[in-house]
């Protein structure tokens, strides 16, 4: 707990960190509280279509008269949930695979690296289209897709750390003493890998949020009537001649979410992993 407080204090000690934290908190509050204080995000009210921001609808309404405050906050909650879920799953799986590859070396290492290379060889959007063609549109496909894309990143970082640790004398000593490999992994590898992985995870959060918005914008992400920041921007863009606020509201939220997460991630890196902070 004291470590967390100390980290927060160090993040707050710099301007970018404070800004990132403030934006992230703002978005979190919006995503958590917005849906609770807004009407049903899918309730259609044709008579109220394209209503401007006002008391009844804080962010106005869309082309079907749906409350944009509700839809934007639900879309933000959805984006954040997916981003956190994907980053956690891919970091856990990627770290374990990377540690195993780093410790085992030899053909296991080469095979894992080759698989990572194959996954990385596909541009994410092309891979997305291929997986969507195979498994159809929807949240499950999206989670699977982005998790697959991110596993190599975490895997490579964990592998590199594991390779370094493997040659260190205290690891060698424990191995000589016949300490169970799982114990060694839990006791030494995971704590050493955790720092950089957490930093990488925080840096990947905005990437996932933006990727989800991109896919939804292209019609491959969230399916109607659910809302996502990407579909809100697209729907707003289509009706930009009638009303500008749907696009602006969703784009602003997306910008704040990604900027906040990026600044916070950078600050976290400087705090947790100061050695790599200078590397751009």
């Amino acid at each position: 707990m004291s470590g967390l407080v100390a980290t927060l204090k160090r993040i707050c000690s710099e301007r970018d960190g404070r800004l990132g934290l403030a934006f992230t908190c703002l978005i979190l509050v919006f995503a958590l509280v917005g849906p609770l204080v807004s009407p049903d995000p899918n309730a259609i009210d044709i008579k109220a279509r394209f209503a401007p921001p006002g008391v009844m609808h804080l962010l106005g309404t869309d082309n079907l008269g749906r409350d944009l405050m509700a839809r934007t906050s639900v879309g933000t909650r959805y984006a954040l949930t997916l981003a956190v879920m994907i980053v956690v799953i891919s970091s856990v799986i990627g770290s374990l695979i990377g540690i195993v590859a780093g410790i085992a070396g030899g053909w296991v290492d080469r095979a894992v690296t080759a698989v990572f290379d194959i996954v990385n060889a596909f541009p994410p959007l092309i891979l997305a289209f291929a997986l969507i063609a195979l498994y159809g549109k929807g949240s499950a496909t999206f989670v699977l897709l982005v998790t697959v894309v991110f596993i190599p990143q975490f895997g490579r970082m964990a592998r590199a750390r594991a390779q370094t640790l493997r040659t260190l004398s205290f690891i060698e000593a424990e191995r000589m003493l016949a300490v169970h490999p799982v114990t060694i992994v839990v006791r030494h590898y995971l704590p050493n890998v955790a720092g950089p992985i957490i930093v990488l995870a925080s840096m990947n959060l905005p990437v996932v949020i933006a990727f989800e918005a991109s896919l939804s914008f292209l019609g491959f992400g969230v399916q109607p009537p659910k809302s996502s920041l990407g579909t809100l921007i697209k729907d707003g863009f289509i009706s930009i001649n009638q009303s500008w606020w749907p696009t602006v509201a969703a784009a602003l939220v997306l910008a704040i979410a990604t900027l906040g997460a990026t600044l916070l991630g950078e600050a976290l890196r400087r705090v947790i992993d100061p050695k790599s902070a200078g590397v751009r």
Partner: protein, 513 residues
Amino acid sequence: MRMKLDRRTFLAGSSALAILPYIGFARAADRTNPIIALDADIGNLDPGNRVGTTEGNIIRSVCQTLVRFEPGKTSWTNDAAKEIKQISDTEFDFELNPGQMFTGGFGEMTADDVKYSFDRYINGDKSGKKLAYADDMEALKSVEVTGKYTGKLILKHPSAALWLIGICDASGAILSKKAVEQLGDKIATTLIGSGPMVLKEWRPKEQFVLAANPDYKGPYKAHFEEITGKIIPEHKTSFLSYQAKELDFTAFDADQLDTAKGLPDTKVIDIPGIDYTWIGINVEKGDLADIKVRQAIRWAIDVDAIIQGAYSGATSRAKTLLAPGLLGNWADAPLYTRDVAKAQALLAETGKTGLTFTFTCLNDATSLAVAQIAQANLAEVGITLTINAMDSGAYWALGADDASKDLELTLIPYTSKFDPSFQTQWFLASQIGLWNWQRWNSPEFDKLHQEGLETLDKAKREAIYINMQKLLDESASCIWITHGRNFFVDAAWLKPMFLPNGKDWQFEFFDKA
């Protein structure tokens, strides 16, 4: 290399950026050949198996027909034919103009080519498979060749529709026998004609270019050297491109009308539609086979809200298949105004709960809005809809190889022609697996369709088509949405041309204003 940003560089850069938009304007103003937008790509260039209006419009400009629609009218005059003589109600003699050459070195058009082209509708393609548009020529019994340029059209029965939807239209395109035999399956992607234009280029999902055919010998020479058609499925996008002066002509959605009226150097064209958009219900599929479920869906969906929400109230609601003004319009057709209680009562009678269906539609903004309103409406009566929005290529491919058999509810926009038999043919049993996505099979409807084709008396035909619409209504397989309204913007310098339905564009008659 390092770039130094000084005041002079900054000013030069700013000036360049400032004049950038005007370069676009200058390019638009300098254009001598129009660039237009189409919302669907070419699917199949075989006239008898064409998919939609895009191919129909291209085929009519690239191929010759015996007689051609006059500019903007449903009346026609001779094109490939030098003369057509009516011998009786069921026999016509024709004589071709000599020297009409097919492009690609496929030689001169002869009466053999006419017979070959029309026989495909009678006998099917080379494997005997019925052509998708075979019913356009249903009345044609045979074509007899009597000379190099002369022949006879023999009809099975008198037909009011044959000329209007068959001979004059894309189905009446005269193909080169030699070319079709040589091309084989490539006929779907290669169009050899002898008409006013040639298909110079086609880049799938991007654009096609029609060029004036210098060898065209008929009376309707194309006015432009080239017309470029950009494939832009979304009207909102093409409208924005038009505003950016990247296009000279495009259709646009009703909700953009006010914006369109305010555009400079632009003409706004507004044509009441005769097309028909409806929600088709697959009567063979699971719980939808129960007519009470279909009736419940019909009562539950708020078509008036769809008209307001998806079409911005700019078009009127349809209540039957044939649009007002067309022969056979059923003026007294029942109007199903949303009644949730009735819908729930019907569902209760069936004892079915937790119904879940898929709603398939195109992935344009209007279709998605319709889908979401229907989804919300049906949710209120306990029916869950999953929306399956498809791009136009995949969507229209459902019209082949029985791909439509798994559809449940589908938003279908079909275009109309000027004879009611064209509209009714898609609901025949023979169209199941092709374009009858309801898979509704009514022998009585089929019989009436045949009677309508064989009847020349206008009043009798009117009664026949009204009866057919009554049968459709009883089936509860169709929820009529709108006959549409066609809005176009075109650059003041351009004069587009289309038939009165607003959908059949006559590229060969596009001209400078």
